[in-house]
Amino acid sequence: MNISTPIKALLSITMVMGLCFNASAHRAWILPSTTNLSGDAPWVTFDAAVSNSLFVPEHVPLRMKGLMVQDPNGKSIDVANPHTGKYRSTFDLNLLTPGTYKIGYASGGLRASWKDKDGKRKRWPGRGETANDADFEKAVPKKADSLKVSQSFRRLETYVTSGEPTTKVFEATNSGLELVPVTHPNDLFAGESAKFQFLFEGEPAVGVKLAIVKGDTRFRNDQNQLDLVTDAKGYVSITWPEAGVYLIEAEFEDDKAQAPATIRTGSYGATFAVYPQ
């Protein structure tokens, strides 16, 4: 994909801030050291970054701000040892409660882009700003060249399980694009098919575009990307070609937005581990 460098930089910065998500330029990911654990109160360590190569931190870190962790009871818990370095953030999690944990970011709201009188590209919220829908009237002109207003939602997650997988953390929040498992994401095996449903704002998301890529992209010439689309009820089945850690990126868009927005967009990204038989 041809994107000019300044735009690329802008995209990556806004991604880091959790404002916008673009799957084509760089990839955002949270990588657990392992996804399935045994024993008493095991620990997991995580890397979180935006990069081109999977899963190599070589571009910018994902910030710790906004990171949320839910324990198997759905309770919000804190991470341990957070650190943001040049290329990645790292943090640890002590799995005190058996079951499945959700680790990730979720954000959403009004977004706008337009060109001002001089033809200069503008966007709201601006670089490094947090969107606040109440400011929209003041910040965005009613009329402008190439004015595009959207309700945009972004979600980036991963899951880890101590002992038996549980499903409490997958209860839909009905905000943005969400994954509802039929197959548990911590129970994936090479050669088997996994089924998931996508919801957008609580409704089955039809026609969600998925791009699925296995890690270690730098050690092969072909990305071997799997491209899939959700069916009329929002379901998708993925047959895992081989064991490894995969990044799943999903994009949804429709025109059922409420004014002043004209489109609604949702993105979902997740890291899944697939084990050998």
Partner: protein, 178 residues
């Protein structure tokens, strides 16, 4: 008086019947599993974790044996149980270890025998059908291997002995009737 005689007759005929019955179909009450662990030519050797279980065609599994580091401080040995991956998926993650009477410490190179009591409640209640006896080994800083031996349940003595062999982490495996 009459009643005593009758009940005695009933008792002895049942006794006789049960002898006949056991000779015909319940020929075996013990299954003997011999598992050979190969000697590894490696710098760092740890005795592998091993799980043995029976599995039906719907992946429903019944525990037969588990060898792991069950005596470590703070139950540290349980941290690696997930590496007996297929077993962990089917039994380990949804059950409490150690299993009473089925769990023991890890074992090194050589032949190891397990006696399976076929009269035990959890085995007797297994529905008849086709099963696999699965033996999975996972070694720290080493490999993993699963060996599967198809068998019919309940066991028919004429089918035995059964044997199979691993190629890396497991040696020859023999299942016989005692």
């Amino acid at each position: 008086m009459n009643r005593t005689i009758l009940s005695n007759i009933a008792f002895f005929s049942m006794f006789a019947l049960s002898i006949v019955f056991s000779n015909v179909s319940v020929a075996a009450d013990k299954l003997l599993i011999d598992v050979e662990m190969p000697r590894m030519n490696v710098a760092e050797y740890h005795k592998p974790y091993v799980a043995i279980w029976l599995e039906d065609s719907n992946r429903k599994a019944t525990q037969i044996a588990l060898w792991y580091d069950l005596d470590m401080k703070d139950n540290e040995g349980a941290k690696w149980l997930k590496d007996i991956r297929q077993w962990w998926r089917r039994i380990g993650r949804s059950s409490q270890q150690p299993f009473d009477g089925l769990t023991s410490a890890t074992k090194g190179p050589g032949k190891h025998s397990i006696v399976v009591d076929l009269t035990s409640k959890h085995l007797q209640s297994l529905p008849k059908g086709e099963y696999q006896l699965r033996i999975e080994a996972s070694r720290e800083v080493g490999g993993k291997e699963v060996v599967n031996i198809p068998l019919q349940w309940p066991v028919k003595s004429s089918d035995y002995p059964l044997s199979a062999s691993g190629s890396t982490e497991l040696g020859s495996i023999k299942v016989s009737i005692d």
